[in-house]
Amino acid sequence: MAATYFEPAREVRALPVSNSQIVLYGVLATVTMLFAAFASAYMVRQGSGGWQPVALPGVLWLNTLLLAGSSATIELARRQSRTVGGTDGLANRARLDAAPTRWLIGSNLLAFAFLAGQLLSWQQLAAAGIYLPTNPHASFFYIMTGLHGLHLLGGLVLLAVAWITRRETTMSCAATYWHFLGLVWLGVLALLKYA
């Protein structure tokens, strides 16, 4: 016994991900769990009484396209910004060049259009006399689309921050978050439409 446990200090093998990426993946995990909880609640609730499927407004398909477009434009912005590279040698301090601005504007406009479309779908449902408490399917529809919209608004804030600070990592995180919300939306839509 009593060997030494001394070893020469070595660099901790740094993770290939930056701080902001860890936070991002943490947030993605949290949001995934949130929507997974709603999805399982949806399936459980479907099994008990009072369930009447509501015909979903057709505008949702258009919204899906808008969101896909927004995702595509932000990806273009991200790719272009990568070519600019760092200014002070540190990857996470890399700054954005002015080049991706038009893609970002496009992405923002499409996102706002998506949110407007979601509001339109609420309006259409309400016009058809279907409100939040009307039946459980409608409740899930309003709450899940609402939550998704709120998360998208949060993403818009992140995007604004990326735009103002012009930091490459923030931009990159915003883009990943955007794609993720696109996937969440597909999941929500599939659940509400087909489950």
Binding site: M1, A2, A3, T4, Y5, F6, E7, P8, A9, R10, E11, V12, R13, A14, L15, V17, S18, N19, I22, V23, G26, V27, A29, T30, V31, M33, L34, A36, A37, F38, S40, A41, V44, R45, G47, S48, G49, G50, W51, L132, P133, N135, P136, S139, I143, L147
Partner: protein
């Protein structure tokens, strides 16, 4: 991390109130937990008075709160509010705050060799979201109908229907909002912990050289991140059930006191699943950091290396994973499919294995050591004993067959007070005695500390070991009194014994608070490393300045428990010491 920015001297507000320093934020959390603990234990005392002397008149309370205690008599609705708020406050706003948020913030950066959290601003923000969470929770006492009264588990329909119980009017809504704020704050904190531990470790601080405190906080943060969202979802649905007219949890065809309820087809079990999907992992979020701190203190004050470090890390991971899939053991008699119940039984009882291994490692850490029986070690030994005793209660409750009889009885109350009350609280106190010199540069008074320990442990066993047997004799929990039941009359002596123990515990806590107050200004001055400990915080001055180390960034050369592995005058080597600084014998 490389060249840390210079920390310019700051004014009072920036230094102590709106600080970005992880240590100040940690202490703020602990301070807030103390305030909430005064509330929570005050409620417990009222509860215990009622149970020992049912119908007792508390004229002093009657004068203070004439509405809540007409003529000093506690009304059943207030009793229910009190048990609900006691549970909620203690679990979420005392133990979580002190242990996970408080010690987590204080210790994580300084023990891994970082000068602060990865996101100091996010950290401060998480504290400043927690403040309104506490305020909203406290405010709920003063709204119409009083504070929430459906238990800390808030099972609907009781919590969903406003006329089911007075506390389900505005109190329950505020309860849900406070919980939502709590979750937001806790999530921000958790993200920070994970990032800091993964990316900000000092040079040489590999994962397997991290102190167990850090391992447990890290795992707890991950469990918290994964398990809180379902409660958020449930809280949103319950809010809509209460105020939006939806029917997630309330079925059709109900009536309260002859009045029909306008809801349709919801399912109450859904809430229970979502609640316990959080509720059970939350237990591990609280208890694991407690175990980590205990290992740290046992090792340091028994002058021994931790027995089975790697094994412990693996056990913690196994407990964390299993802990997330066994929530159903809270629902054995809920009407859930009984065969699913049996599945949960087997899963739950598997957890006893890594837990027992951890217990054995604690015990084995003492073997052959040189115990310094100071207050910190006494509380750590207390934690070890409570973890064993309380853990055995889990064998009864995790088993569906014995749970049929013990479910919702005092046995459950005794069991979880041992685990998420006792293990966590004793670990917190052990931690305070251990790190107080580091936090404030002064020692707590040892003599008062010992009195504190003895009154606490006597009070604790007197309360909660007794409660186990109150439950085994058939007394259900959450009862205002037991007068209606002849078969439970014989238990009144037990209740008296529990109440006396509770007051003993309260006296102990007052002694502790006096000790803290006195020691903050008059305590014996502490050096850098008064305990001959090995981890990085003891390299820093006591108390450490903003930025933690006065010298260069610490560099780590060895694992954290190099105690009694060396001959010579010094029986330990700090993590920063190279081979030339500590002669090693063979």
């Amino acid at each position: 991390m490389s060249n840390h920015e210079q920390h310019a001297p700051l004014g009072f507000w920036r230094k102590y109130v709106f600080s970005l320093d992880h240590k100040v934020i940690g202490l703020q959390y602990i301070g807030m937990a103390v305030v909430m603990a005064l509330l929570g234990s005050g409620l417990a005392m009222i509860m215990r008075i009622q149970l020992a002397w049912p119908g007792a008149k508390l004229s002093w309370l009657g004068k203070l709160f004439p509405n809540a205690f007409p003529e000093g008599l506690l009304a059943p609705e207030h009793y229910l509010s009190i048990i609900t708020m006691h549970g909620t406050v203690m679990v979420f706003f005392v133990i979580s705050l002190a242990l996970v948020s408080g010690f987590g913030n204080y210790l994580i950066p300084i023990q891994i060799g970082a000068r602060d959290m990865a996101y100091p601003f996010l950290n401060a923000l998480s504290f400043w979201v927690m403040v309104p969470a506490c305020l909203v929770m406290i405010a709920s006492f003063f709204v119409e109908g009083g504070a929430a009264a459906s238990g800390w588990t808030a099972y609907p329909p009781l919590s969903a229907l406003k006329n089911a119980v007075p506390g389900s009017q505005w109190g329950q809504t505020l309860w849900l909002l406070a919980m939502a704020l709590f979750i937001v704050s806790f999530t921000m904190g958790g993200l920070n912990y994970v990032t800091t531990v993964l990316n900000l470790r000092a040079k040489g601080m590999s994962l397997m050289r991290m102190p167990l405190t850090i391992w447990t906080m890290f795992i707890a943060a991950i469990i918290g991140l994964v398990s809180f969202p379902p409660l958020t979802a449930a809280a949103i649905m319950l809010l809509f059930d209460r105020h939006g007219g939806t029917s997630f949890f309330v079925p059709a065809g109900l009536s309260i006191a002859g009045k029909p309820v306008m809801h349709d087809g919801g399912t109450p079990l859904l809430w229970q699943h979502l609640f316990w999907f959080l509720g059970h992992p939350e237990v591990y979020v609280l208890i694991l950091p407690g175990l980590g701190i205990t290992f740290e203190i046992l090792a340091t004050h028994a002058r021994k290396t931790v027995f089975g470090y790697k094994m412990i890390v693996w056990c913690l991971i196994v407990i964390a994973v299993l802990g997330c899939v066994v929530w159903g053991h809270h629902m054995f008699v809920s009407g859930m499919n009984p065969w699913l119940g049996e599945f949960f039984t087997i899963g739950t009882l598997i957890i006893t294995i890594p837990s027992a291994i951890i217990g054995l490692c604690m015990l084995a850490t003492l073997y052959g050591g040189s115990l310094r029986l100071n207050a910190a070690l006494l509380f750590a030994l207390g934690t070890l004993a409570l973890f064993g005793t309380g853990g055995f209660g889990g064998v009864f409750l995790g088993n569906a067959t014995s749970d049929i009889f013990l479910h919702d009885s005092y046995f459950v109350v005794g069991h979880f007070h041992f685990m998420i009350g006792g293990v966590t609280l004793f670990a917190t106190l052990a931690g305070l005695y251990h790190w107080f010199p580091k936090m404030f540069g002064r020692h707590l008074n040892e003599g008062l500390g010992k009195i504190h320990f003895w009154l606490s442990i006597l009070g604790f066993y007197g309360m909660f070991l007794t409660m186990h047997f109150v439950g085994i004799n058939g007394a259900p929990r959450r009862y205002y009194d037991f007068k209606a039941y002849k078969m439970l009359e014989g238990l009144q002596t037990y209740h008296l014994c529990i109440t006396i123990s509770a007051f003993t515990f309260a006296v102990a806590s007052i002694i502790f608070l006096l000790n803290v107050t006195w020691s903050l200004w008059r305590g014996k001055k502490a050096e850098r490393n008064p305990w001959d400990a090995t981890t990085l915080e003891w390299v820093a001055p006591s108390p450490p300045p903003h930025g933690n180390w006065d010298g260069p960034d610490p560099v780590v050369h060895r694992w954290p428990y190099d105690l009694s592995t060396h001959a010579g005058a010094k029986d330990f080597a700090m993590q920063t010491e190279g081979p030339d600084k500590a002669p090693v014998t063979s």
